[in-house]
Structure formats: C-alpha cells, structure tokens
C-alpha cells in the first residue's frame, strides 16, 4: 500500500513506528474511515500522531503527500496570465495580521467571495489583501500567504488549501514556538536530580526495610525510617538586563517568573549584568551600583555544583566584549568581558546560554559577538524546545 507515506512522515520528523503503521492498516481493513477521505485523515492522525505539537508537522506531510486542493472551475484567461507572470516579484514578508483575518472565513464564504472577485476584477494585482493576485494576503491567488484560501495558478509557495489538513490549525502548538510562563515552568521540571543523600532528618517510613527488620525481630514490629528523596539541583541564573534585550523583556520576565516559581530547586541565585559580564554584577534588574557584588566574589563563593543559566541576546558592540577598560554603569573594569565569561565557563561544568534572539541573518557587526559567545557556551534559542534541550544539557556532564 502507500508505504511511501510512512517514510515521508518519518522523513518529516514524526517518529511513527512500524507497530503504529500496522495498526493503521488494521484500522483501514476494518473500514474505520468509512471510505471517506476526511475520516481517513482523522484515522491516520489518531493512530500515528501522539502529541498535538506534532499535528502541524503531520498536516504538512499529509498535504505534501496528498497534494492540496485546487480550484477546479474555469478561469478567465487574462487572470491566469497575470498570475503566471506577475510584474512585481513576490515579497518575502506579508502582513501576517491581515492574513490571519482570513482564518475566520468559511470555505463557502471563500468560494462566494472568489466568484464575486472574478466578476469585478479588471486588472492585475500583486500584493495586497483583496484582489486575486500574487504575493499578497488575500484568500486567492498564489505565492502569497494566507492561512486559508484558494490557490489560483502558479505553484504553491505556502501550501494552503481548504482541506482539513490545509487549515494547519495546530501551528500554535508546535514545540518550537515561544510560549508562556507555565510552559517554561513545565520545562524546568526537567531540572531534577533526586537523591536521598541530603542533610535531612529521617522522616519517611521505609516499608521494605520495616518488613525486613520486623521479620528479623521475630515478628515484633520494628519501624525503619529513611531520608526523603529531594531535588538536589542548585541554579545560578545570570540575566542580561537593559539595552538590546529590552525588546525581549516579556519573554525574559516569563522565564524569570518560571524559574523563581519553580520551588523544587535546592537553591536559586540570580544576578544581573548589562550586555557583558564585568567585575561587578547586580542583584537587581535595575543595575543599581549600590546593590552590586564583585563578580570574583560570586566565582569564589558559589560552588561549582551550581548549574548556570545565562540569559542574554549575546549581541553588543564588539568592543564591549573584547575591549579593555570598558565603562559600564559606573564600574571601571580592566578585564574584558570575554575573560569573565571564560572564567565562568572554567568554574562551572554545567553551564548553558539561553538566547531570546536568533542569530542575525546578516553577518558582521551584531552577529560578531553572538558567534564568539555561542562558540564558548552551548547556546539555545529561548523557546520551549530550546529550553528543554538546554535543561537536558545541564543535567548531563560535559
């Protein structure tokens, strides 16, 4: 049967196993899809996909395999010409907000609107949100972007069709989106290492030990207690504050909330820096000099068993990172930032960098320090996926 679909799903990053595939075939044999294509889609999804965060990937692969639906009625010749050879080249950016409005439309409405436009339209249109054309956000045309719509001519660039899979309703559930505090908090639960080797009173009843001891004691009850299992992870959080990270402040504060609310850590210490680490770090995000501590003091007093998370965009003037005697908020510093970073790296075997920004596309000025720092530290993009990866990295030794 269509086993190439199986391999396509796997190639698109869905970990479909052979067993699940066999289950699907069994379901089709039992005609659970009632010979309907839509039902077939749901049967496939229910059996092969096990998380809503994979629904979007599945939809994409499903569309790729079964191709998207095209408008089948006859079209005016002139319109097709405009579409096949647009005067303006399609742009890469679209008015997403306008495009998302198309989401509210029902298939019937789109069909109706399309027929109306065919009546009205007398010239070529590219870009924009109303007419049939290329590179825009209206629900018709090609090479544009609309979450729903009818592709008219051309090859599909952002595949969207009116089929169920085409709606891609589960885009928001993808793990690689950046999300809210709670999801961060969930991720921080990865950061757990349970141990009963802690300094705590023996308060938990050891059932197996009690039974053993009672038997040894000739049947007279003898209670055995043990230390409870507790998380032993200690976290040192270093956050960039102010300047270019301001742009990501909401994301960073969500992360901070999540860390501080995760009360399962044995200890949590937070310090702030501006752009790069220098001789002093701050205990408040306002970077008040009065509340500063010597970075050396941190390095000496916070033991290497702490797991270090640095949060920052790693983008600054190259001289801020590499230059000597750089002024920063009233601190006169002789050691360049990069050396401070190296000191942290040497001291703490478990250290990761979370970056709310992606690497700038263009190379040069801003990406220069980004590249240097991402080479020094394992750097992860601050999304739910990235955070999870980073935290897993923190748990294993270098």
């Amino acid at each position: 049967m269509f086993s190439s679909f199986f391999y396509l799903l796997r190639a698109r990053g869905l970990s479909v196993s052979f067993n699940e595939w066999m289950t699907l075939l069994e379901a089709l044999q039992k005609n659970l899809h009632h010979c309907s294509f839509t039902e077939f889609y749901y049967v496939c999804r229910a059996i092969l996909v096990k998380s809503e965060s994979d629904f979007d990937r599945f939809d994409g692969a499903f569309l790729e395999y079964f191709k998207d639906m095209e408008f089948t009625k006859e079209l005016p010749k002139q319109l097709l010409e405009w579409l096949e050879n647009p005067k303006d080249k399609p742009k890469d950016t679209f008015d997403m907000q306008r495009a998302m409005q198309n989401n509210r439309l029902s298939p019937e409405e789109i069909q109706k609107m399309f027929l109306e436009r065919l009546e009205e339209q007398k010239e070529e249109h590219n870009g924009g949100s109303y007419w049939v054309g290329t590179g825009g956000v209206s629900v018709f045309g090609n090479s544009g972007y609309s979450p729903k719509g009818i592709r008219v001519g051309g090859t599909s660039r952002y595949k969207s069709a009116l089929q169920v899979a085409g709606e891609r309703n589960f885009r928001d559930f993808r793990n690689d989106n950046t999300l809210d505090t709670r999801q961060f908090q969930m991720a921080f639960r990865y950061l757990r290492q349970f141990s009963s080797r802690i300094d705590a009173p023996k308060t938990e009843l050891d059932v197996d030990g009690t039974i053993q001891a009672t038997c040894d004691n000739g049947g007279n009850l003898k209670m055995i207690y043990q230390r409870p299992r507790k998380n032993t992870v200690k976290v040192l959080l270093l956050m960039d504050s102010g300047g270019s990270v301001e742009y990501y402040s909401r994301l960073c504060s969500a992360l901070f909330q999540a860390v501080s609310k995760s009360n399962h850590f044995k200890d949590l210490k937070v310090y702030y820096f501006h752009n790069s680490i220098y001789a002093k770090m701050y205990t408040e995000p306002t970077l008040r000099t009065k509340l500063a501590v010597e970075t050396d003091w941190i390095l000496q007093n916070i033991s290497s068993e702490y797991k270090v998370i640095i949060v920052g965009d790693a983008m600054m003037e190259p001289s801020e990172l590499m230059g000597r005697s750089f002024f920063s908020y009233g601190v006169r510093d002789k050691t360049p930032g990069i050396e401070w970073f190296q000191k942290f790296k040497q001291k703490y075997p478990h250290i990761v960098w979370l970056n709310p920004a992606k690497r700038p596309q263009w190379s040069g000025y801003w990406s220069h320090t980004y590249d240097i720092l991402s080479e020094l530290f394992p750097m992860y993009y601050l999304s739910v996926d990235g955070l999870e990866e980073a935290l897993k990295k923190l748990l294993v030794s270098r």
Partner: protein, 272 residues
C-alpha cells in the same frame, strides 16, 4: 468486539465528529484512548458520557503524584496480616484474604465489559505509564503471593486523560490512540450550552457567546476561560436576572469567567 454500538455523544455531552471518530477507532482496535486538551474541555466528562451512551459501568482510577502502578493492580496488606498473626486471628494462612484488587484489577475482574478511566496520568512519576505497558497490552497480571493470574474477562474500554504536565514515554504512546480536544468552535459551544440550558433565551445566548469569545480573544488574558466557566457564568447571569444588553457592556460576574486578578484588571481596561 463492540463496533455495532458506536459512540455518538450522549444526552449531556456534545462530542465533535473527530472525537467520536477517535472513540470508535479506539474501541474497534481495542487500544487505550489517550485524551489531551485545554483544561475545561471535558476530558474527564468524556468517559462518563461513553459509559452512559453504551450503558456500561465506569471505573475511575484517579492518579496522584504518589500513585504507583502497583496500586492499580493489587495491594497485599502485609501489615494487617502481621497484626492478625500476632493476635492469632483465624484465616491468617489465607493470603488471598489480604490481597485487594486495585482499580485496574477491578476492571479486569468485572463480569461484564466496563469502561476504565485513568484520569490525569501525567500526575504520576515519569516511570508510571511504562510500568503499565504489559498490563494494558495483555490485559492480565500475575499475583505472586497467591500464584493467581487476573485476566480480563472482557477487554475494558480504557480512556486515559493527560494535562501534558509531563511527556509520556514513547513506548506507552505507541500503544495508544490519541485525540486532542481542541477548544470548541462557537457553533459547537452553542450546542453544548443548549444541552445544559435547554430553555435559554436566544438573544442572551448570542450576547454571552460574543462576549465570551471576545474575552478569549484578548491576547493579554493569561488564563483563558473555558467551557465549564461559561456554563457557570450563564447560570450566574440567569440567577442574577441581568438584562441582555448589560452583558456585553458591563460584563457582570466577570469573576466567574476570569480567575486571576491581572486578568480582571485587563478586562477593565478593554471594557469601553
């Protein structure tokens, strides 16, 4: 096999087409059905609805953070037996007396086919689902103390709900049919409301729906209201005798919909 009596929703539960499909697939393939979804979309209610619709007994196994897989199978009360032996009570030799079946055991042991709801499986330890693989696959387990095998007389229909607080292990997921309950569309929501309030005024319903989806649409709301909250709200509006026009304008009893102070403040701001 029980495909003839397919699930089509019940009197008090409106299921989407896809959800009904998933339930019937799971029943036909005899696999556990794993249900995920936003809080308040009726994951737990589903099992009750299936039990009602098919007229089968429902056994609920509520999972807590301390639950062990063993608890669902059986508990061997050694301590009781030890005490009994110390006081020389009769029947101490009969170990079976001290073996008590858990919820899963109960479902296997039932004379008729039952529905087993394993509620909020993600609350338990990470290893929990893996410890149940064999039992859910083969529908049997062995009690070494009594040298007895408990085998399902009729394969129970297993519904598992999860709030996605933990990733479930792959080996476990592979054995399940999965369905994600998306938040109901306005049409479906109206249907759901109609089931709970059959005599609701049309204009009131319209106002409620508009306001509700408008609030859900506000991007700065942290905890979005869900189905159960809108039902409570309608109840409150009815009891309070609020006029329809006031709903959209004043949003009375907003505290029923929004549970966070920040969200109520946000709503104040957006209210014109």
């Amino acid at each position: 096999m029980n495909t003839s009596t397919g699930f089509k929703g019940s009197q008090n539960y409106v299921a989407s087409q896809e959800l009904m499909g998933a339930v019937n697939i799971a029943m036909a393939l005899e696999k556990p059905l794993l249900i995920k979804g936003e809080p308040g979309t009726g994951k737990t209610m589903l099992a009750e609805a299936i039990s009602q619709a098919l007229g089968k007994r429902l056994i609920i196994w509520n999972i807590k953070s301390t639950t062990k897989a063993q608890d669902g199978l059986y508990v061997y009360d050694v301590v009781q037996r030890l005490y009994d032996s110390q006081f020389g009570n009769a029947g101490v030799d009969d170990i079976a007396k001290y073996v008590k079946l858990g919820k899963l055991g109960e479902a296997f042991d039932a004379k008729e086919q039952v529905i087993l709801l394993i509620d909020e499986i993600d609350k338990a330890d990470l290893e929990f689902p893996n410890d149940l693989l064999w039992e859910l696959d083969k529908m049997e387990f062995y009690i070494p103390e009594t040298k007895q095998t408990i085998r399902a007389n009729h394969r129970p229909i297993v519904i598992i709900t999860s709030n996605a607080e933990k990733e479930l292990p792959d080996a476990f997921l592979r054995r399940c049919i999965f369905h994600y309950i998306a938040f109901p569309t306005q049409d479906l929501m109206e249907e759901i409301v109609a089931v709970h309030f059959p005599h609701l005024d049309k204009t009131l319903l319209k106002q409620v729906m508009e306001t509700f989806y408008w609030i859900r649409g506000l991007s700065s709301i942290q905890k979005k209201p869900s189905t159960s909250e809108v039902l409570d709200w309608i109840q409150a509006l009815q009891l309070g005798g609020i006029s329809e026009r006031a709903i959209r304008k004043e949003i009375p009893f907003a505290g029923v919909l929004l549970k966070k102070n920040q969200d109520l403040d946000t709503l104040e701001k957006y209210k014109d």
